[in-house]
């Protein structure tokens, strides 16, 4: 056991408990730290034995299993890796996580192809003209120190994707060491507008949505079975919802302009004119007739006739929804990315959230989520506003040094932002990366990272399923390449160049993490266990479950400030609305180099290895387009050529192209397949949050005259069962689900 005196001695400056907590990530904690138990690291006697030395466990032909956290998206599913003869072979879900309960999505399954990807960067590369020259890490660190010399905090920018846990702590402390506040967190397709709207409606950015407790789910374009927030968690809830509360099967009504995977599973899929989701929500509130006061006043003008005309949803259908919502409670209303993606996206989301309030769902199916009581570790979630700010700064020549990690804006920024050109104005660009993606290709220095299955870390998911949890990431096998480094190790090395005294006792990120966890053992549920026992248990579980209170929801936002624009008129020059769709596997394109995902058919079109544009058959007939026609999709900011696919699940005045393909870099499995719709997006932003309005781009479509055979899984019969009973269906009044034997999971 250690007293603070020796900490003072080790740290070389007067011990300040607050600073010390900040170094390890527990700063500002809402939970009291235990006063003891932080001995072994502080006395410096710790001998760190890497967990990857699994020799003891390794018996030829016998698999061993280690728990870690899926890093394919930010949902934070816990995984169990199967390791044999020192190689990780397969990832499964860890049953002990409330988020994914033993399950994974297809994207998660492909995590091994990130790790074994043949196109990983293996050496630090320094730009020499068009070439990257391999250099040593010592030289790379020296170079960074040299470039930072004499540069002020304002002239340094750090761009990342969503980060949380101790990586975020180190990153924050590193920027702090320059007095820099320039941490730009960028997510190309994150629910940024929704977070802001939720904050207003419920008092928190990310409440819990209890799909499994709802009898009706009314989803305005929330693809919760596909790519929305925490899809594996929601898929499990969905399965329970289908079995029903009190034996009554849950009913899903999906309202959107382009059918998502969730829409394809709806009992009723309603196509709505793009951008009028909020109007429909207000129309439903009006038709419910239960609202009073300012809410009633706000929805007064939204009578059925007008709403039906604006949205294209029939009055009869609105009546049916209203009857259903009245008869079956509680319900749950979700505002998804399709509703967010407009200049009035915030208003759309607010109107939809208001419906939850009117229906009395807040506190029932929309609940407060548990919170990790350590603000320093809470996830920094990203948005496109951050990228825009960075881009403006780059354009103004503000930054001498730019670091980038886990973001690829050269690929995902709208072409009209000219991000690539502006990036060139930064003096020295450092990319921490696994692959040479489009952004790394522009860097001066490329630093190769350990894969997510080789690295250490802690992760705090944004969406908390039940209790609060911190996820542990640990190596599942030895590093494949000698010269890659963990992001935590790199940050630690860099911060040591700035604040040696604070960090010198941590040989590596592993030692730092271990120290951090053990220092706060009491609050992390370690009780009186000795350090080694607690640490080993933590690693073997892969999850730290925390006792924590949830913030209460407010749910009384009312209708103040709510105003929705009339549906936009059709633009004569660009008559079609472009919906860039987010597919569960490819998302924003960071995983496109995993061949299983390239070859995994899009669930709705069954297309593989290429992009396509979805056009409603009626519109296609009007334009004389048939399947496989290469069409040119032109907007104000350029055009792309892509194969046409006739798709019934889309509004005839809209077309849709999936995001994630069209890479010019990222290795053999990604480069050259498909097109990148990010390139032609219009620069329209949500009026309240400044977020890029992803669905606001107007385009026209013209035939080029060439035609290809669409490579897809669907056969010549298309979606027809040819009169056979293959995939069968029953109406709900013809089954007795409550009498069935079923098992979820």
């Amino acid at each position: 056991m250690m007293n603070s005196g020796s900490v003072k001695h080790l740290a070389g400056h007067p011990f300040d408990r607050r600073d010390f907590l900040k170094v390890l990530g527990w700063g500002g904690a809402a939970v009291a730290l235990s006063g003891c138990g932080n001995g072994s690291v502080e006395d410096g006697k710790e001998t760190v034995v890497s967990y990857v030395e699994t020799n003891d466990y390794m018996i030829p032909s016998i698999s061993v299993y280690f728990n870690s956290t899926c890093a394919q998206c930010d949902a934070g599913c816990s995984i169990t890796g199967r390791i044999r003869e020192g190689r990780v072979l397969k990832l499964e879900g860890n049953p002990n996580s409330a988020i994914n309960r033993g399950k994974t999505c297809g994207l998660g399954q492909a995590g091994v192809q990130h790790h074994y990807n043949p196109d990983r960067v293996r050496e630090p590369l320094l730009r020499n003209g068009d070439q990257g020259e391999a250099i040593t890490w010592e030289k790379a660190y020296a170079l960074i120190a040299e470039k930072l010399n004499g540069v002020s905090g304002e002239e340094i920018a750090f761009l990342t994707g969503g980060v949380s846990g101790h990586l975020k702590v180190l990153l924050g402390n590193y920027l702090d060491s320059f007095g820099s506040k320039n941490h730009f967190v960028y997510e190309a397709v994150g629910p940024a507008v929704l977070r802001a709207a939720n904050k207003k409606s419920y008092g928190v950015e990310m409440p819990r949505f209890n799909i499994n407790k709802a009898k009706v789910v009314l989803s305005f374009g929330a693809d919760f079975l596909g790519a929305w927030i925490s899809p594996v968690h929601f898929s499990q809830q969905y399965a329970q919802f289908r079995k029903g509360v009190d034996g009554q099967r849950g009913v899903l009504v999906q309202i959107e302009s382009k059918m998502t995977l969730t829409g394809a599973n709806a009992d009723r899929w309603l196509v709505v004119r793009p951008g009028t989701e909020g109007i429909l929500a207000l129309g439903i509130i009006n038709a419910l007739g239960t609202a009073t006061g300012d809410i009633a006043a706000a929805v007064k003008g939204y009578d059925k006739a007008r709403v039906s005309k604006d949205t294209g949803v029939s009055a009869e259908q609105i009546d049916k929804i209203v009857a259903l919502l009245k008869e079956r409670t509680p319900s749950l209303v979700l505002a998804g990315s399709a509703a967010e993606g407009y200049a009035h996206g915030s208003q759309n989301a607010a109107a939809i959230n208001l419906l939850n309030q009117v229906l009395g769902n807040v506190g029932k199916t929309v609940e407060a989520a548990a919170v990790v009581p350590f603000p320093q570790m809470a996830p920094a979630t990203g948005n496109t506003f951050a990228l825009k700010t960075l881009n403006d700064g780059l354009n103004a020549g503000k930054y001498k040094v730019l670091f980038s990690y886990a973001a690829n804006p050269v690929f995902t920024a709208p072409g009209a932002m000219k991000f690539k050109d502006n990036l060139a104005k930064a003096g020295f660009k450092v990319a921490f990366t696994h692959y040479l993606d489009e952004t790394a290709m522009q860097a001066d220095l490329v630093l190769p990272l350990d894969s997510a299955l080789e690295d250490w870390g802690t992760q705090v998911p944004e969406y908390m399923a039940e209790g609060a949890q911190i996820n542990i990431q640990q190596p599942l096998m030895e590093k494949l390449h000698a010269n890659t480094r963990g992001m935590g190790d790199i940050l630690l090395a860099l911060i040591k160049l700035r604040r040696a005294d604070d960090y010198k006792k941590y040989d590596d990120y592993y030692a730092y993490l271990r120290a951090a966890v053990l220092q706060n053992k009491g609050a992390l549920g370690g009780g009186v266990a000795d350090d080694d026992t607690f640490w080993n248990e933590t690693l073997s579980k892969g999850i730290i479950k925390l006792a924590s209170a949830a913030h209460a929801l407010s749910g009384k936002a009312g209708a103040a400030g709510l105003s929705l624009p009339a549906p936009s008129a059709i633009d004569a020059q660009y008559p079609l609305q472009l919906i860039p769709s987010v597919n569960a596997s490819l998302r924003d394109g960071r995983n496109t180099n995993q061949p299983w995902l390239q070859e995994s058919p899009d669930p709705l079109t069954t297309i593989v290895w290429d992009s396509w544009v979805e056009i409603h058959p009626r519109k296609a007939a009007e334009l004389g387009i048939v399947e496989g026609d290469i069409v040119e999709v032109t907007g104000k900011n350029g055009s792309i050529k892509v194969q046409a696919y006739l798709f019934p699940g889309i509004h005839p005045d809209a077309i849709s192209i999936p995001l994630g393909r069209g890479h010019e870099a990222l290795g053999r499995y990604a480069k050259g397949y498909g097109v990148n719709p990010f390139q032609i997006l219009d620069m329209v932003f949500d009026k309240e949050t400044g977020e890029l309005a992803l669905h606001e781009t107007r385009v026209k479509v013209s035939k080029t005259g060439s035609r290809v055979i669409v490579v897809k899984d669907e056969g010549p019969a298309g979606g027809s069962q040819m009169g056979k009973k293959i995939a069968a269906r029953l109406p709900s009044d013809k089954v007795k689900l409550s009498e069935e034997v079923y098992y979820v999971g």
């Binding site: 898929s235 399965a239 299983w596 070859e599 709705l604 290895w609 019934p648 669907e714 269906r729």
Partner: protein
């Protein structure tokens, strides 16, 4: 053999395997798939690639129909002539149905595909001569032929990727047929473990890779002859019987409240996979 002879004495020609007096003892592996839970997400299909060393063939070969997805998700639309699919799509996870009277088996000239005593349609790779008759005769089109030698094809398993290959599963070379095995390598491990401990495999001891990944828990797998198994209970509740070619549900025209059915029952392959019909709300 005349057709009339074949039809009259059908049961002599088409056995329920195995042909002993005591069929399927102590194991008969079977599945049930709940289409009301399945979201069509494809996680099962990717998990199968990961578990069973399935090659990624690439765009050009995919275009020729050479995809090797043992588990594929079929997507159907309503055919009611309406403008919009307002009841969504229909998804169907499709893989080898492990037919009891497998049409693929009877046509194999070398007996490379045949039945295991525990009711799995097995494929013996090193006996297969690549005639592809089985593929032609499979009513479900779930057999996949190795037109190329994928292990030596560029970018299928280049260095490092090959380290992911599952050592419990053969890597197939050119010229052989393959298909879903019900993850027989997992079944074998469980059976051996149970045997070493002098017991039978418990329900829930073996999960197929697709079942394990499936986020909605749509897939149930187990031993149909174990009365305690989930799969047995589900089949029983749905009154679906392995050796019948018409189930209760089929007999009651539109009146039954059961959801369980087998695809192409009328062809009498006696599949080991029962599907539960998707349900759609009548009130909306």
């Amino acid at each position: 053999m005349s057709v009339s002879n074949l039809l009259e004495n059908w049961s002599d020609f088409r056995h329920t395997h195995p042909v002993d007096d005591v069929p399927h003892n102590p194991y008969k592996w079977a599945m049930s798939i709940d289409l009301d839970a399945c979201s069509g997400c494809n996680a099962c299909s990717v998990a199968c690639y990961a578990e069973n060393n399935l090659p990624v063939v690439g765009k050009d070969k995919y275009a020729h129909g050479y995809a090797m997805h043992w588990m594929r998700i079929e997507r159907y639309w309503d055919e009611d002539g309406r403008d919009f699919p307002d009841q969504g799509a229909q998804f169907l996870p499709m893989m080898c149905q492990q037919c009891e009277a497998a049409p693929c088996e009877t046509v194999c000239p070398v007996g490379a595909t045949n039945h295991t005593p525990d009711g799995i349609n097995s494929q013996i790779y090193n006996r297969c001569i690549g005639s592809r008759y089985c593929e032609a005769n499979c009513p479900y089109k779930v057999r996949y032929f190795n037109w190329y030698d994928y292990p030596t094809t560029d970018n299928v398993w280049p260095a490092e990727m090959n380290q992911q290959l599952n050592p419990d599963v053969t890597v197939r070379g050119k010229g052989v047929m393959e298909k879903c095995t019900f993850c027989i390598q997992r079944v074998t491990v469980a059976k051996n473990n149970a045997k070493n401990e002098g017991r039978l495999v418990h329900d829930g001891e073996v999960w197929t890779a697709c079942q394990q990944a499936c986020p909605t828990g749509a897939i149930t797998f187990g031993n149909l002859v174990d009365p305690e198994s989930k799969v047995h209970k589900q089949w029983q509740a749905q009154q679906v019987e392995l050796a019948k070619d018409a189930q209760t549900k089929d007999k009651e025209e539109g009146g039954s409240e059961l959801r369980g059915y087998r695809i192409f029952e009328e062809l009498r392959p006696y599949p080991s996979v029962m599907y539960l019909e998707r349900v759609r709300e009548s009130a909306v």
